[in-house]
């Protein structure tokens, strides 16, 4: 019973993928969209079923599918683990996935390759489910690689544009660097524990502590974190995510905001018992997360491409989640993952709706005044913006506030960094909102003429996500957290004592809200009162120019890493490769010469052959009888 449901959960999107890739053309544009959506909706319902089971019984469901690898003492089963953590992820992956599929039916309707689009989306959902439900690191790795592949395929979906192809390749290669770290981490863990199964490792960790294990464990967790920082876009591997916005907007919403990029957080939360043992690595995670959130937020301040702003905002929010992870507050990070999935998906889909209405325009300097024409989009966008800025009682307030609170208790410096990043977030999000929806329209007359609200298929997901952005915080209210209670079995150590709400906590909340309001106020005075419009690219000067060019990180990577590798490759090709091939060709020439001489023996004269035959026989006999 459970096995068949698990198979349904896993295979529904895969069947959707197969039928869309092979028969998508025959299904027609709407047909392939509906089929792809149905496949994900089925998975969503199955996830709901399992969720109700597990949250009732509090017993994780373990389904053994088959024995996979068996090498002496070391064996890996293909098992599915449905516990509190994986079900939470399943719910929002398939739930938001369904909404975005619905959205895409309309958004991608004019694309000639829409069936391929849905095929890739389904494949992505399949791999994401695999990643989440695997009971050991190797199954997780399959999903991990699979979602990377789908990300590549979807970023480069409009492959006729070379820039988009480059962005896809960049994403793939950056992820590859992280994946190598992940893989090395898996190897070390397999070496230390003789297994890759989460539960077995957890038991081994909790029962005994071998000092030799501890030394290697830091390296393992560090490697795992490198893997996570590749997938979840942390410094220094974050540069692929902003470029990934080359993909169609639903892809940005699904993969590069709500689901795939949270895989790193999922992995670290899954292995929290290992990370708890390595405080040094936890510190690194916290610092990297904090710096990432600040750097990305500061870049977001001056970007003019609507999707780029959202992309840097995603990197920044992911940084906050890593900060929470590094401070050991896994449940807080998970909470922020969920609320972030709601409001960031809503923001991306909203920006998609705007781009759709403006026929592909993404530059905010050419927008403005859209709130009259696009009421639903504006309203949902406003809700999500309030949520991400941390205004109570919207979802983002609670999760971000908890991260700040944890940071305040653990490390004041990190708290300051995170707080500044939050203020910046409020500023650039409202900058985006004002530039897009307020004042007069700054585009062409023709665009103005065609302004329209998007169809129902686009606004429906927006409304659902907008509502979730408002009420999503309810799952973990301070002082009375359903989420912390629900996730308790996952963690090696009980989650942090729910902070009793004292004066400090209320002060912190007030501070966070005031900070957000300050950010909003600056945005208001700049873009509403003074009606400023960001300068054209050539007129940007000073520090703003550094920010606008993303601290020249891409250029620095180009100079420090890519160029040397190119010149090394060129050197190897021109000198080493040529030298080697001379040697190899030499062998060939020798064989050729010998063959030229040897072929004279095969002169076709049977008498000669017979003579050689008899001579050889006589030699053998002579040797055997007289020489030995």
């Amino acid at each position: 019973m459970e096995t068949s449901f698990v198979l349904l959960l896993l295979l529904a999107p895969f069947v959707g993928f197969l039928s869309n890739i092979f028969f998508g053309k025959q299904l027609g544009k709407t047909g392939s969209g509906v089929l792809g959506t149905l496949a994900v909706v089925v998975s969503f319902f199955v996830s709901c079923y399992f969720f109700s089971q597990v949250s009732g019984s509090k017993q994780p469901i373990n389904v053994h599918l088959f024995d996979w690898i068996s090498l002496g003492k070391f064996s890996i089963n293909f098992d599915i683990l449905l516990d509190q953590l994986s079900l939470l992820w399943l719910l929002f992956v398939t739930g938001i996935g369904s909404l975005i599929h619905i959205y895409s039916i309309s958004y991608m309707h004019d694309d000639e390759n829409i069936h391929k689009f849905f095929a890739y989306l389904n494949l992505f959902i399949f791999f994401m489910i695999t990643l989440v439900v695997g009971s050991n690191l190797l199954i997780m790795f399959i999903g991990w690689e699979g979602v990377g592949l789908c990300s590549y395929l979807l970023i480069g979906f409009w492959h006729k544009n070379q820039e988009y192809n480059d962005a896809a390749k960049k994403a793939f290669i950056m992820n590859r660097i992280g994946d190598l770290g992940f893989l090395i981490g898996i190897f070390i863990i397999g070496y230390l524990f003789n297994t890759l199964d989460f539960n077995v490792i957890k038991q081994a960790v909790l029962t005994g502590s071998n000092p030799e294990v501890a030394g290697w464990l830091s390296i393992a967790t560090l490697c795992l974190f490198i893997g996570a920082s590749g997938k979840s876009a942390q410094i220094p591997l974050y540069t692929w995510l902003p470029d990934a916005m080359a993909g169609p907007t639903p892809v940005s919403a699904l993969i590069h905001a709500a689901t795939m990029v949270t895989a790193g957080i999922f992995m670290i939360t899954r292995l929290n018992f290992l990370f708890d043992l390595t405080p040094d690595v936890q510190n690194i995670i916290a610092v990297v997360g904090a710096i990432t959130s600040l750097v990305a937020a500061s870049i977001g301040l001056v970007q003019n491409d609507i999707k780029k702003v959202l992309a840097y905002s995603t990197v920044s929010q992911l940084g906050l989640m890593f900060l929470a992870l590094g401070l050991g507050a896994y449940e807080v990070a998970v909470f922020h993952v969920i609320t972030h999935a709601f409001f960031k998906a809503c923001l991306f889909l909203g920006s998609g709706s705007v781009i759709h209405a403006l026929h592909g325009e993404q530059d905010m300097r050419r927008m403005g005044g859209l709130k009259g024409a696009m009421k639903v989009t504006f309203l949902t966008f406003l809700l999500a913006t309030l949520a991400i800025s941390g205004i109570p009682p919207f979802a983002g307030f609670f999760s971000k506030d908890e991260i700040l609170m944890v940071a305040f208790h653990e490390n004041k410096v990190l708290w300051v960094i995170a707080a500044v990043a939050s203020i910046m977030t409020a500023f650039y999000m409202f900058r985006l909102l004002y530039l897009t929806f307020f004042k007069e329209f700054r585009g062409t007359e023709e665009q103005k003429h065609h302004l329209h609200e998007s169809p129902m298929l686009i606004t429906f997901p927006l409304m659902v996500l907008g509502v979730l952005s408002v009420v999503g915080g309810a799952i973990s209210l301070p002082g009375n957290s359903w989420l912390n209670h629900y996730l308790e079995p996952i963690f090696a150590h009980a989650p942090h004592e729910a902070h009793h709400l004292g004066t400090t906590e209320y002060m912190l909340m007030a501070f966070a809200v005031v900070g957000a309001l300050i950010g909003i106020g600056i945005a208001y005075s700049k873009y509403i009162k003074k009606s400023e419009v960001p300068a054209e690219d050539s007129e940007i000067t000073g520090f703003a120019k550094v920010l606008y060019n993303k601290y020249y990180v891409d250029e620095a990577y180009m100079a420090v890493i890519v160029k040397p590798i190119y010149s090394l490759s060129k050197f190897l090709r021109d000198y080493i490769e040529t030298g080697l091939s001379q040697i190899i060709f030499g062998f060939g020439a020798v064989a050729d010469g010998l063959a030229l001489q040897g072929k004279k023996l095969q002169n076709g004269n049977i008498g000669f052959y017979l003579f050689a035959f008899v001579f050889g026989l006589c030699s053998v006999v002579f040797y055997l009888f007289f020489l030995r």
Partner: protein, 106 residues
């Protein structure tokens, strides 16, 4: 059977066999007519057969004689195929001189 070997010693058979075999080898090497070469091969085969039978008697072991039967059967089959090939060669080339058969030259 042993009395035969008493009258004529086993070494005699060895000499005869070696002689027959050498005749066969020289026939192969020196003659160019394919049919004669075939006959030489048969002589060599029968030299070996003779040796097998002689030692079989000498060792009081019948398996050598059984082996000879197999050997003769195979030789008969080989001759049948070989002669058929020769006939075909003769039809194509009008001669069975092996010096004319150089099409396999490398």
């Amino acid at each position: 059977m042993e009395h035969i070997l008493k009258e004529i010693g086993v070494e005699t058979y060895l000499y005869l066999s070696a002689l027959l075999f050498s005749i066969g080898v020289f026939g192969i090497l020196l003659r160019r007519n394919a049919i004669i070469m075939f006959m030489s091969i048969e002589i060599m085969l029968n030299a070996v057969n003779l040796l097998l039978v002689a030692f079989s008697t000498f060792h009081q072991d019948a398996s050598g004689q059984v082996f000879v039967f197999f050997s003769m059967a195979v030789a008969a089959a080989e001759v049948a195929v070989g002669l058929a090939i020769l006939v075909s060669i003769f039809r194509n080339l009008g001669s069975i001189d092996i010096d004319n058969l150089k099409n396999l030259k490398g």
